[in-house]
């Protein structure tokens, strides 16, 4: 299945420009003219990334992003990458985007190539059309925003591990210590350009993150693993840094507290 992009833009000219541009390069595009419509689409369709204009009529892009993050369109798409499109300078809206849980913003005017690079950063590479990834430099028009930190749903964890709180505690602690070691070993492998070792470590990290439902970390490790498999060493360093950041932002003690709270609540 190909990468499917939801374009939320009320201006018909920009919308058509993005839609035809993406389609001509082999991506799938679905369009919405307002936030309400975009949320209806997310509820019923499988989408890999949302491009959201910030200045749309009615509910604006920031509100829409917050609603999606809050699970308004279903739990499965609450962690979908959302990239803002803005007419004002990125510096003006960056903090707002972060607060709304968006993953980055792209400044108008931009070319389709700028969008493609953003899509490459966020989407599963197995879903990219032929001739991609392009391995181009990062777009000047794009600014990453601090993505929301991984926070697995405590109910989901308790359900997965048969309400065994002790098991979850042990797994999280083992993971926290081991991931630290793995990341520092990755740094060394990166400096020594030891790609085979790097691939092996990142493979383990991906699997371990999957056990604990740390979706962002798992996805980022997966992207890095794919890049290494394909011999795309071009911007590996940046991806390793992204992975480190995603790990640093995980608040393990809060996750544990939430698990405990739900556990105790369930026993009442």
């Amino acid at each position: 299945m190909l990468c499917r992009i939801l374009v939320v833009e009320d201006d018909p000219i920009t919308r058509t420009f993005i839609e035809t541009g993406l389609r001509s390069r082999g991506f799938e595009a679905v369009c919405a003219t307002c936030a309400e419509e975009s949320m209806r689409i997310l509820q019923i369709e499988q989408v890999d990334l949302v491009l959201m204009d910030l200045q749309i009529e009615g509910t604006n892009g920031l509100e829409a992003a917050s609603l999606i993050r809050a699970g308004y369109t279903g739990a499965s798409c609450s962690s979908i990458p959302i990239i803002a499109i803005t007419g004002s300078g990125v510096s003006e809206v960056q903090a707002l985007c972060e607060e709304a849980g968006m993953n980055g913003c792209i400044e108008k005017p931009f070319m389709i190539e700028d969008l493609v690079q953003v899509i490459e950063e966020w989407c599963d590479w197995n879903k990219l059309p032929a001739n991609f990834p392009s391995f181009k430099n990062y777009s000047q028009k794009y600014t990453a925003v601090n993505a929301p930190a991984d926070e697995p749903d405590p109910r989901r964890l308790l359900q997965k591990f048969g309400s065994d709180r002790e098991w979850i505690h042990q797994l999280l602690e083992t993971f926290r210590l081991d991931a630290k070691q793995k990341l520092s070993a990755m740094r060394t492998a990166l400096e020594e350009k030891d790609w085979k070792t790097l691939e092996r470590i990142v493979h383990g990290l991906k699997g371990a993150a999957g056990v604990l439902e740390l979706d962002t970390l798992q996805a980022k490790a997966g992207t890095l693993e794919t890049m290494l498999k394909r011999g795309a060493y071009f911007s590996i360093k940046k991806y390793v840094e992204n992975l480190e950041k995603a790990f640093e932002r995980i608040d393990f003690s809060t996750i544990l507290k939430r698990v405990d709270a739900v556990y105790i609540e369930g026993r009442k």
Partner: protein, 132 residues
């Protein structure tokens, strides 16, 4: 039930070990070498494992290679076909090539990561190791 989990990643190993402890005793091996020693010793003591969970990407050797070795060791020990241990591959590799190779070397099941405890449970039932 006596289980051996072969997995180099500590989080994933702990996950599987704790899971199997509910059904009996469970040993963990981090490397292929370690796994081979444990498997051989168990056979020599006449207390073989009932189930082995094998990861494919291990630091020293591949799980596919281990699988073949385990089956050869069982044959050498004169263990009849129906008494062989169950070997379940638990790996992130999902290419048809890997799956067919494992079944050609006589594995009993193949689970693709990430695995849910419920999925493993169903597999154990299907293999006749636990009751539904």
């Amino acid at each position: 039930m006596k289980v051996l989990v072969v997995e180099d990643d500590p989080t994933q190993r702990l996950f599987l070990q704790k899971f199997f402890e509910k059904y009996g005793s469970c040993d963990g091996a981090e490397t292929g070498m370690e796994a081979e020693t444990l498997f051989r010793e168990a056979l020599e003591k006449k207390e073989p494992f009932h189930l082995v969970c094998l990861d494919i990407l291990l630091p020293d050797k591949s799980g596919q290679e281990l699988l073949k070795q385990f089956r050869a060791l069982e044959q050498q020990a004169g263990i009849p076909f129906h008494n062989r241990c169950r070997i379940l591959m638990v790996t992130a590799l999902k290419d048809l090539k890997d799956v067919t190779e494992a079944f050609a070397s006589d594995c009993d099941g193949y689970l693709v990561k990430p695995v849910e405890p419920e999925t493993i449970k169903q597999k154990l039932v299907a293999l006749g190791l636990i009751s539904p």
